[in-house]
Amino acid sequence: MTDLSMTKTPLLTVEHLTMRFGGLVANSDVSFVANNAEITAIIGPNGAGKTTLFNCITGFYTPTVGRLTLRHPDGKEFLLERMPGYRISQQASVARTFQNIRLFGGMSVLENLVVAQHNKLIRASGFSIAGLLGLPSYRKAESEAIDLAKYWLDRVRLLDFADWSAGNLPYGAQRRLEIARAMCTEPVLLCLDEPAAGLNPRESGELAELLTFIRDDHKTGVLLIEHDMSVVMRISDHVVVLDYGRKISDGDPAFVKNDPAVIRAYLGEDEDAELPAEVANDLPEVAQNDVKRAEEGA
């Protein structure tokens, strides 16, 4: 926190991102910047193209048009749209969670977090050869991996459940575990797809705390899709609003909350403003007639 300009460096730059599926345009010319060690929320009504945007950033889709630049704090640059899916996590250090939780349900909680450190460990295991021979270098790497897993389990209050099957955890705990698993890959950018969905108010409060902790103490950028406005407005540093695949607003939470374009997208058009003048003038009369007719009928 000594140098504010340090934390304000852009981490992810999205430029003119367009994603088409045949005739359907899911994202159209979306551009925004997510800064390092900030929480950037992406909000918008259902079907606005938020998850598609995420899938483009995390390599599940290749965007039709556009450029996605990820700039690590140490200066390394990655063009995400040119990387195959798994490399985005492996090399560019982008981690994500899923809207419908995707844990390894049959495996234990601890195993889930160790699998997340796969790339580190498989190198340490000499692509299994050193591991098969039981060399000490691999054992050291594994115990370090377990320590990291324990750290995050402690953070998400699941340490007591380490040996449970992930699929048997309650829903809220599964959400937290998925975040812990993503953090175990030691990302610079964490993408969370509706992490508060299905959580009760107390749980979403804890989630907000966890995300601010990740931002402040790990200096990790967080990209957040969320419908729960109480969470979004409380913790976001920056909000991007999508509607029908387009960006309609972009700014800090206070600005976005009062942006007429955003209100229109969420609450619908202001009908009076849109009606032609003569119709609008007639409206009170029509309404009175209706009332009269209703009274006569009664």
Binding site: Y86, G106, L110, V114, H118, L132, D163, T185
Partner: protein, 505 residues
């Protein structure tokens, strides 16, 4: 006492019961008329039909009585049924039935109904619910899994000691070799199907590649078994990679279909490329293995070479080679087992299991799915290749007939029945699938019927395999620590309801 409390409240509704039994008997009639009643026989005048109505009548009668027994158990008369069913079982042993198969049906059916009746008397209920049964079976599976820690070494010691016991005659040793071959193949396929979750329907292709690698290398270049064994493994692994590259991008059913096709392609190549592979005639005179290239298992060795019995100063016995083959396949199988047990605890093995659970999540964690799957494919293929070259050297003769789809299906059945990913399950399933038909050879054609019935029953009672139970590969709190209960109870549901429930919410 419990039996009384069950029987008192309800009177027996004879018409309903008789109707139910009659319907069941009718279904049995429909099935047995074509399956049992009619039989084609080769007559000098041409193909003729033989009818066996006595057997049909007996089978239908048995089904009628069996259903009646089950209905009576349900209606609270388990004691009577128990006595009658036990009597029927005993009668099966004593009286002569029209055919051997009917006798077996009588004994087995009587025993099953007697057991049901006994359970009903003990628990006061005619039937356990599906969930209760699952829970019980899961507990048994977990116990067996834990017991395998000491049961495994005991089994290995027994297997090692077996050829030295007086029991070990030629026939039993041959059955032992056969069982161990299938156990090895099952363990090999378990890597792909059980750990990585890739449904491979063409595993026998790699078995064939291994067998033909050795046979052809020995035939054309005169290479010995000990040189060819690693080569066969490498070639099989190579063919696994070759197949894997284009195929691994496919998922689920599509993947299964392509592997099925690959298995057939290999077989058809072997049949049609007769200039090289000998075609349908196969390759004969494949050299037998030597004692690690040092001594041969022959009575009178050629000049300048050593015979096994001379080397150890023993009396010559043709059994020596069989015993050696037995130990060879035992060691090969154990290598596969140890490898699998170890790899499960390494990043590669954990990545396989993670791929089986959710491969999209794996991609999001930066796991190179293609490489991981290729590794699983190649390693399993290598073990298949080892088994294949063992098969070639044991038989001394191979032909494409040995590598048909049914072999793949049997190996897959072993893995699935045993419980995917369970090493001990493979052993148990091999004993059931290969051992039982061998033991009941006198049943002739009916053993396949019994085999099919066994499969159906297992799929009904235990769809995820007999011993499907997964132990975590690392435990933070040890075996009996915090959450051990949760984990044990958890694995049971994790395969199905656990995940489904979690996602559905």
């Amino acid at each position: 006492m419990t039996a009384l409390s069950v029987s008192s409240p309800r009177s027996i509704a004879w018409p309903a019961i008789l109707k139910e039994a009659a319907i069941t008997a009718f279904v049995a009639l429909l099935l047995t008329v074509p399956l049992v009643g009619l039989r084609t026989v080769d007559r000098p005048t041409g193909l003729g039909l033989e009818t066996r109505w006595a057997e049909v009548a007996a089978a239908v009668g048995l089904v009628f009585l069996g259903r009646l027994g089950l209905c009576l158990i349900r209606d609270g008369q388990p004691t009577v049924v128990l006595v009658l069913a036990a009597a029927a079982t005993a009668a099966g042993f004593l009286i002569q039935m029209p055919t051997e198969a009917l006798r077996v049906i009588l004994i087995a059916g009587g025993a099953i109904i007697a057991i049901r009746a006994a359970i009903a008397i003990r628990t006061g209920r005619s039937k356990l619910s599906q969930a209760e049964r699952d829970q019980r079976m899961d507990r048994i599976a977990a116990k067996v899994q834990h017991a395998s820690r000491w049961l495994g070494p005991i089994a290995v010691v027994v297997a090692l000691a077996f050829p030295m016991t007086p029991l070990a005659d030629r026939q039993l040793l041959d059955i032992g070799i056969l069982l161990l071959t299938y156990i090895m193949l099952g363990w090999g396929l378990n890597i792909v199907v059980g750990l990585a979750g890739l449904l491979d329907l063409g595993y026998v292709a790699f078995y064939a590649v291994g067998a033909y690698s050795y046979a052809l290398l020995a035939h054309y270049f005169g290479l010995s078994f000990w040189v060819c064994l690693p080569l066969a493994g490498l070639l099989a692994a190579g063919s696994g990679v070759l197949l894997g590259f284009p195929v691994l991008r496919l998922r689920g059913d599509y993947f299964a279909i392509v592997t099925l096709g690959f298995g057939e392609i290999i077989r058809i190549i072997l049949v049609n490329w007769y200039q090289f592979t000998g075609g349908p005639n196969g390759i004969s005179g494949i050299p037998r293995p030597s004692f690690f290239g040092v001594a041969d298992f022959v009575r009178s060795p050629p000049e300048g070479t050593l015979a096994f019995h001379e080397m150890f100063g023993l009396e010559f016995s043709p059994l020596h080679r069989i015993v050696f083959l037995y130990y060879l396949i035992l060691v090969l199988a154990l290598v596969v087992n140890v490898f699998t047990l170890r790899i499960r605890k390494l990043p590669l093995g954990r990545a396989w299991e993670a791929l089986r659970e959710d491969d999209i999540a794996c991609a999001s964690l930066g796991i190179n799915r293609t490489n991981m799957k290729l590794a699983a494919f190649a390693i399993a293929a290598m073990f298949g290749g080892f088994a294949g070259s063992f098969f070639a050297t044991r038989q001394g003769f191979i032909s494409p007939e040995s590598f048909t789809f049914i072999e793949s299906a049997i190996i897959l059945a072993i893995v699935v029945l045993g419980g995917m990913g369970s090493q001990i399950g493979v052993v148990v399933a091999t004993l059931l699938v290969i051992g039982l038909p061998e033991a009941f050879r006198e049943l002739a054609d009916y053993r396949m019927l019994a085999f099919g019935m066994g499969m159906v029953l297992i799929m009904l009672w235990r769809p995820r395999g007999l011993l499907a139970h997964r132990d975590p590969t690392i435990l933070l709190y040890g075996r009996n620590g915090k959450g051990a209960g949760g984990a044990a109870a958890g694995t049971a549901a994790a395969g199905g309801q656990g995940i489904a429930g979690g996602r559905a919410k």
